[in-house]
């Protein structure tokens, strides 16, 4: 294609340019722009409280709370994605992994032990791994396993529950099994690229970035803005929906169903879907429910929530097609319910 040729023949010295006056000017614009945003924020805060209707105010507070809570994890995920895509040598991760597909996916499920981000940060990271050469089913295995099989989640879950009732073990084993089963299922798909949104699939087919004479720093900044452009709108929409459901559905409706072995599992999965908290902290969230709800339902909450919830579906839609997400949701829900029922009836 014409543009690419032009790129390759472009003057190479451009890539070595340091801070030119034009760039410094733009950075100045950036600093002034952000400073004025701070100023606006400081001034408008003096105008309050606005006495909005309570429901609207709480909708806003809840949605902003989800955004603020997710933001650091999203940034961490994007930074790790930049690290993997731009700074790590191409074959570094790839070569270390086993070649046998099943073992390879099993190994990939444990990548979260070294890249400890929770689920919202994992979306940009999984996108980065896809671009870097993971197959769709492999990066999906990572996306599903990493929020559960990572040190922070394991520590917080252990702090909350210890080894009581097999909840921690069910969470880890269940998360690993579900991620690998889903990875295997989607690896059977004849056309892996068709699982991805066409926009993202096109991005994956793009040749490696920093071969084109852009500096690594430039590529990093570029990647940051592109991931931000994709993830932030999805995060905003997901948070607003999560907030809306919280304001609209009375909590008592959910809690009334807590002690039935089957219903409690389904209700907890519904709660996990609605509440959309990060896997790093969801154990603390669910701890107070542990005495009313059966252990299996808690395990189902802790397995299902990190993989599927309102916010996550909105984020994953940036990468996977709606059809893929529906299949994913149905299978993960069935398997999580199975984990819950096994714990309820066996443990």
């Amino acid at each position: 294609m014409a543009i690419e040729t032009e790129t390759r023949t472009g003057p190479p010295e451009r890539s070595h340019t340091r801070v030119s006056p034009a760039r410094a000017a733009w950075i100045g614009v950036g600093v002034v722009g952000l400073a004025s945003l701070f100023l606006i924020r400081a001034i408008t805060s003096k105008t309050g409280p606005w006495s909005l209707p309570n429901q609207l105010q709480d909708l806003l507070t809840l949605s902003i709370s989800v955004i603020v809570e997710s933001l650091p994890f999203v940034i961490l995920g994007v930074l790790l994605s930049i690290l993997v895509q731009v700074w790590l040598p191409d074959s570094w991760v790839m070569r270390a992994l086993p070649r046998n597909p099943v073992l390879r996916r099993a190994a990939i499920s444990f990548l979260g032990m070294f890249l400890p981000v929770c689920e919202c940060g994992n979306v940009p990271l999984a996108r980065g791994l896809l671009v870097k050469g993971f197959t769709v089913s492999e990066s999906m295995t990572f996306l599903l396993a990493a929020p559960i099989l990572n040190p922070i989640t394991i520590i917080t879950t252990h702090q909350a529950f210890g080894f009581d009732d097999g909840i921690l073990v069910a969470r880890l084993v269940g998360g690993f099994a579900i991620a690998n089963i889903l990875g295997w299922l989607f690896s059977r798909h004849p056309d892996q690229d068709s699982l991805l949104t066409s926009r993202f699939a096109a991005e994956c087919r793009m040749p490696d970035r920093h071969e084109h004479g852009t500096s690594r720093l430039g590529s990093s900044i570029d990647l940051f803005t592109r991931e931000a452009a994709v993830i932030m709108p999805a995060l905003f929409i997901g948070s607003l929906l999560a907030g809306l459901v919280q304001v609209a559905v009375p909590r008592s409706v959910l809690i009334g169903l807590g002690s039935n072995p089957l219903w409690s599992v389904l209700v907890m999965m519904l709660l996990a879907f609605v509440i959309s908290v990060c896997s790093n902290v969801d154990a603390f969230f669910i701890l107070p429910f542990a005495s009313t709800f059966l252990p299996g339902s808690i395990a189902a909450f802790l397995v299902f929530g990190p993989i599927i919830d309102i916010k996550m579906l909105s984020l994953m839609r940036t990468t996977f097609t709606t059809k893929t997400l529906v299949q994913l949701t149905v299978v993960v829900a069935l398997l999580s319910a199975l984990v819950g029922l096994v714990v309820n009836y066996v443990a």
């Binding site: 950036g30 949605s63 955004i67 570029d222 940051f224 932030m232 008592s252």
Partner: protein, 261 residues
């Protein structure tokens, strides 16, 4: 690449930068004014601020226009080709408006705590968060009871409704007013939210206060300080066996840390 396509791509990029800027500016400002804990548990503040700082650096750098090299070769994909269909265009437009509205709210709406609407919706004292061991216990030394928080009292009230237990244990609590649904004229809760992670998981707790005709002096959501002692609840309509019967009730400023942990 077509100019139209380039415009659209540039627009998407600046949209992303704007949304990120709004979120990071709001977060950093909340942190500097110590209001981040209106939204998240204090244990995440340091992590949040560090990551926001990284974000700020990248944001400033992203104002530099992209070099003509690198990836000018975004493709006109099927997604975008079909984006011209009516429904898709409509969805994209409304999503843009909604996200812009949230970004605007992040920057201009003054931060606030959750209100009694959420306390009602989630039902005060409906969770078992109160069953976890608390500092307040039956053998606390004399006078210690005045330092008990709403959470301590709510937890005790859940354990025992024996009026003898509460005699000689004066209370002094701060919280916001939520009417008791069973007897809204005479009983209200001095209530607080307990946060384990962020405001999303806030669980309302409260201590019932028996104060006939309280609505003439206070409103729903007012922050009040109530002192008094616990007695058998004089209200026949209320479901609460024990209530705080105040010797003094006054409006106070919302505390710096409105949530309990």
């Amino acid at each position: 690449m077509s100019p139209r396509h380039r415009t659209r791509r540039d627009w998407r990029r600046w949209n992303g930068i704007a949304l990120t800027a709004a979120t990071i500016v709001a977060t950093v400002w909340l942190a500097t004014t110590n209001q981040l804990l209106l939204y998240i548990h204090p244990r995440y503040i340091v992590f949040t601020v560090i990551m926001a700082a990284f974000g700020l650096v990248f944001l400033v750098a992203s104002f530099v226009p992209r070099s003509r090299h690198g990836h000018d070769h975004d493709h006109e994909t099927q997604d975008e080709a079909s984006a011209s269909s009516g429904l898709r265009r409509w969805i994209t437009a409304s999503a843009t408006i909604v996200t812009a509205a949230i970004a605007l709210a992040l920057v201009i709406v003054p931060p606030a705590t959750l209100t009694s609407a959420t306390a009602d919706q989630r039902e005060i004292n409906s969770t078992n968060v109160l069953d976890t061991p608390q500092s307040a216990d039956a053998v606390a030394p004399a006078g210690a009871s005045e330092r008990f928080t709403v959470r301590d009292w709510a937890s005790l009230l859940r354990q025992t409704s024996d009026p003898v237990f509460y005699s000689g244990k004066p209370a002094d609590v701060v919280g916001f007013v939520t009417p008791d649904p069973d007897d809204p004229e005479n009983v209200f809760y001095v209530s607080r939210f307990i946060i384990t992670c962020c405001a999303v998981d806030a669980q309302p707790i409260g201590v019932p206060v028996y104060l006939p005709d309280w609505t003439s002096s206070f409103h729903k959501d007012d922050w009040v300080q109530v002192t008094g002692g616990f007695e058998t609840n004089p209200s026949a309509a209320s479901a609460q066996p024990i209530a705080l019967v105040p010797t003094s009730t006054k409006t106070v400023q919302q505390p710096d840390e409105p949530y309990l942990y």
